[in-house]
Symmetry: C2
Subunit: 461 residues, 2 copies
Amino acid sequence: MSFERFLVEVRGFLEENQIVLDREHLSHFSYDATERQYMPQVALLPESTGDVSRIMKCACLHGVPVTPQGGRTGLSGGALPVRGGVVLSFSRLNRILEIDEANMFAIVEPGVISNNLQIELGRRGLFFPPDPSSTVDSTLGGNVAENAGYTRAVKYGVTRDYVRGLEAVLPSGDVITLGGKTLKNVAGYDLISLLVGSEGTLAIITKITLRLLIRPRVRRTVVAYLNNLPEAADLIVAVFRSGIVPCAIELMDNIAINTVADHLGAALPRDAAALVLIETDGHGKEEVEVDALDITNLCRQSPGVTEARLAVDEAEAERLWTYRREVLPSLKALGKDHLEADVVVPRYNLPFLVRFTGGLEHSDAIRIATYGHAGDGNLHVTILHRRRNFSELEEAYRLLELIYRETVAMGGSLTGEHGVGLTVMDYLPMQIGGEALPLMKRIKAAFDPGGILNPGKIFPD
Amino acid sequence: MSFERFLVEVRGFLEENQIVLDREHLSHFSYDATERQYMPQVALLPESTGDVSRIMKCACLHGVPVTPQGGRTGLSGGALPVRGGVVLSFSRLNRILEIDEANMFAIVEPGVISNNLQIELGRRGLFFPPDPSSTVDSTLGGNVAENAGYTRAVKYGVTRDYVRGLEAVLPSGDVITLGGKTLKNVAGYDLISLLVGSEGTLAIITKITLRLLIRPRVRRTVVAYLNNLPEAADLIVAVFRSGIVPCAIELMDNIAINTVADHLGAALPRDAAALVLIETDGHGKEEVEVDALDITNLCRQSPGVTEARLAVDEAEAERLWTYRREVLPSLKALGKDHLEADVVVPRYNLPFLVRFTGGLEHSDAIRIATYGHAGDGNLHVTILHRRRNFSELEEAYRLLELIYRETVAMGGSLTGEHGVGLTVMDYLPMQIGGEALPLMKRIKAAFDPGGILNPGKIFPD
């Protein structure tokens, strides 16, 4: 690797204000929501696909590592430059290039903030379902790279389900164009699905074509409180067996409820073992109302439910959803460190997973908060500890591994939406055995023979 | 390649009745729905994943080509052994291994006939949306290999959207297990999406885990007749812009209408330029009824519509759908040869594509029938000709190329659901330019370095 020669070449075609070298400004590009930190040698701010292509050609020639970076809201460390080199920041490739109302597609650059697209679409009565909690900071490029999930995935699927076209720059600097504004396409291998969720390790995404939906006109939210956490999981399974497909089913345990109540000063029942939020949506007011009432009645008849009711108006619904979105920020505000298992199990195993995590023996210094997208079987099991206290840190990792082992034993996955990145990397062989990991590495090599793109991610050494 | 030594080894672990060598029985494995024919040297009938693994180990060692084969209903030649060698038939790996009602998943072997799964699911009130026209003969393994589409894709998506787990045998004989009964999973690259639609060129699928839905309780079908084909395409675009999401919108042109009327003795209006079938479904009777009435009214107000009405009962709806499904068999029964373009365009371009195909100058000997999944922008443009008449054959191919060029110019895809196989292979570079095809070939090599799996498909030389 010859970083100095790389830099000389890059200066030949980028403006000085596209190149960040001083330590103070560089530190901005060194961390993400995992709160881990790795300093890059330089941050480059491309303004066009041509810039990205030229940067990659130079990086390829000189063997310089390149880590693409969006809003740095990732929870698995995917955007951290662990091997130094270049951070490629998409802050200036942030234009909504087209909103095609007739075909119901949008074309965006990767640096567009997720929520900015939602606002533009909302004005047109359109809708892009994937809407992660980090939507006001996260970028669409990052959402695509991580195949972001979100609360409405139960009904509407995840990011991959909406990406129909991509422009991407290969590590060689070659630009490829895949798919477009068509709903179906089986011409050749599905490289789009492969790139979505590849965590920036295969190619640099420079344009994204997204399928859109008509915005549902009505939504209703049901809230239920239970005095028993495993029965909350039972309730979630029961809702699906009724045949209704809600657009979101979320769970908060007692620790999450109390932490949010403290943090936001919210009037939440502090004794409840679980809060379950269920949202239905649709185009017809009556049909949504009927579903919401059916769900409310089903909740009231379920074991462990102490209270279940419809949110009286949109304002109350929005307040309830704010409580849910504020779980992670509230847990962070506790000042404790947290290790989070983003685990998914087959939905029917949810009660068993919750029973397992609830029964985990651990010291009083450690607390385990559980919340998340229970309707998908996807929970964020959060182990609160102090990482500067060695025995607590050790115990937290012991608990994390136990949760991972149980998840795999239940036929689940170690990560439902956060990605592998750094945080899950060492555990990946627990889930993916045999020839599958070596095969993934061969696919990585087919894209990136020099291993310069986001090195040190996904694959354990 | 040493076919003889391969055969000696295979005889060591397969029973005689799993090995087909005589020409008469072999010819059964030599053709598919393209009506092209290539003789294999042997057909092998594995009865377990172990059989497949051992066969692949031997084939890998001796460099023998292996072409996996399901129900041979493919329309792109994906299951034809163009380089001879082995046909691996899945006729004996045809068990429904599990229908997990609680988690709403099914696990099947690749040789299960698609319709047999539908019947089993129907008994349980469950539903696997992908249901290709060939459902009574096609296998689920074939559906997965080709990422089969079908009429309901408009609302429910295609096969890839339902495959959540796969067991597959690599060309080396190694068995890999991917995913499972979880709704979300971002652990490593999405090899499942890559294998779905890879047309049997990357790995041999031996087990499939499919996500299921609750069967919609109600469906209503609207039929509209028009005196103008491009206005039928306009109508389809208008339905979507109204905000209703039908589960199917299908189109038949005048030639398709008359051919079906002749073939089935059906009382169809022979003067109509177009027949549009629109189906809505759901769980609530009223909501479906309201949507169906709204669509009927929208049809009645649309230019070119001469008649639009709701099917009076399920029997009439089923009859209308039979007419649609019988288009291809009826066209085949005409005794003419057909070249079919399985093209997709952005939905709003549909009227322009239909105008283009309608305006194509051609001799009286040739006719162009258009029908298909218009709701997805996916049409099967069928050029009827006599292939033993050289000038007609040449003209048919000239027309096919013109249709392909226009499709690509409109931002479309050369194949929406049939796959590339043999039939689209030579045209693929029109759509996929630059480094994307070489990249796909490197991915092929990452799976199959010896190039023994379904050789001579997808990639033009």
